[in-house]
């Protein structure tokens, strides 16, 4: 038996953990930058979107691809703001905090689900090895 053949499930579960980790990172970035009006490019912060991709051919490990969201910015009236234009409008990132928090919930549940797969698989292998006794 090759040592590496029976680890498929572990690798897949771990890739799920890593992807959810990355997803939570992206959500965290979106939440903490929800009011960022200036990034290094001079523009306000753009919402980052996560896309889950399978690395194998239909079946296998997963990874996250991050892309900047399409669409523009919110225009908010705030004449006192340092980044306000002549009419007193400030361009703000178009980030919906409640929906980001919903995504955060989903991501952390998905993380737990991947942990559950990993744990259950380890238990299954242990049970199988008990047959040797």
């Amino acid at each position: 038996m090759d040592v590496n053949t029976k680890y498929g499930t572990i690798d897949i579960a771990i890739s799920g953990l890593k992807s959810q980790n990355k997803y939570i990172e992206i959500i965290g970035s979106n939440i903490s930058n929800a009011q960022t009006t200036k990034t290094s490019s001079g523009e306000p912060y753009k919402q980052i979107e996560a896309r889950f991709k399978s690395t194998g051919d239909k079946f296998g490990t997963v990874e996250v691809e991050q892309t900047e969201a399409e669409g523009g910015f919110k225009r908010v009236l705030d004449p006192g703001h340092p980044d306000a234009d002549e009419q007193g409008y400030v361009k703000m990132p178009d980030i919906n905090l409640p929906s980001e928090l919903m995504k955060l919930n989903t991501a952390s549940r998905a993380y737990e689900a991947n942990v559950a797969v990993l744990k259950r698989y380890q238990k299954m292998v242990e049970r199988t090895l008990e047959l040797l006794k």
Binding site: V3, Y7, I10, I14, L17, N21, Q122
Partner: protein
Amino acid sequence: MINKVNSGFSQAIQNIGKSNSTNKPNQELSKTIKTAGEYLDKVDQQQVNADASVKQMLAGNEDIDSVIAKTAKADMSFKLLVGVRNKLVEAYKQTMNMKI
């Protein structure tokens, strides 16, 4: 520390394999033991890797998920090795205790 114990064990197992290899009827068992010795080397390598990745993580160069993956694999392989080893020893004992 584990690798030292492992390499000692590996040598012992290989010695058993060698001493038996001249005996024609016993070749199957010696082959099994040799394969077990090779598998033990793989398990040892996995444990060394897992150990290294823990150190890498503590140094800040690796994320915890990879460490979990490597330790889980090493743990499972080790359990399989122990299971096979126990079974082999048991078979040996049963053979030796056979009434002739």
